[in-house]
Symmetry: C2
Subunit: 202 residues, 2 copies
Amino acid sequence: MTDYDAELHKKKMQKRKELQTELVSSKTETKGLVMVHTGSGKGKSTAAFGLVFRNLGYGRKCAVVQFIKAPEWQTGERKMADHFPDLLEWHTLGEGFTWDTQDKQKDIASCAKAWDVALKLLQDESIALVVLDELNIALRYDYIAMETVLDGLRNRPAMQHVVITGRNAKKELIDAADLVTEMNLIKHHFEAGVKAQKGVEF
Amino acid sequence: MTDYDAELHKKKMQKRKELQTELVSSKTETKGLVMVHTGSGKGKSTAAFGLVFRNLGYGRKCAVVQFIKAPEWQTGERKMADHFPDLLEWHTLGEGFTWDTQDKQKDIASCAKAWDVALKLLQDESIALVVLDELNIALRYDYIAMETVLDGLRNRPAMQHVVITGRNAKKELIDAADLVTEMNLIKHHFEAGVKAQKGVEF
């Protein structure tokens, strides 16, 4: 790199820095966010757990409610609750996939039970972050009414963050959310015959 | 729901269960994966930290190398290393964004230093998961040669998982990866004037 190139790079970056500073200073509000992770790719629940990781780092209380996963299924993420008994509440309240239960009434009942737990968390202002894992699945099959969920979100503490995961997020939820990210699959190891592994999928 | 509907639902789910069992049993291989989180949406690094969270739950060793973020920038995720001194190694070795340093030679030198640390981790089979955070940025600007990175990945322990994050993942890396997820922005609170907040962005 010549001196001229180095100088040109510096000038470009100075200009970019000015724009960046302007952009950042235009954002002033702080508030509890409703975040939705959807799409058919990997990373929806995983990114929610990454937010838990980040908040635990600050010593903030977090809670997770899992609407579909069943308690028999051991996961690395759930074991983390043992490390943070005062900061992390973990409720795995599903009955497994719809094709495991094969019983719609049972699915509806377990979702209703999970929502009761979720609602208590959404009324507790000591909790900085609530993860409603795979709630989108329950909403998609109308196991829980959208209006019930939107009500719970609207009435929660002003600074509480909520993450809702699961594919096929409904339009009403997207409209109510502050952040919506779609995780899309570009390439997946399952297609190459690799199975679900500890530490990757669970 | 009538008895007839309940029966119909059950039959459909039994059929689906059969297909699911067949699909799962066709996947038999286990291996260390190269995972790439790219796209312009939120959640790339966050999902990588979610994988760290999951692996720590199993008591597995993890390591993070940050290629762009500078050590002055305090984050919740980095504080987690204090909680797991024997399991989590954290190296924040960047110099900040290109528009902060305004010095290309400095950026290249800091990336080379970070890669040296990364390479040692990629040769250590006691480490189950290595996160190379924002390595895609360094690759995009040719601060590190693609061949150097691919070599390091090829020669790592067979069961070690690696996650590489950052927008604009290059084609050569996508070709070499086992899993590629693109995080896409559907809606972002920055657009509504909300600023970056503790526990959400950092």
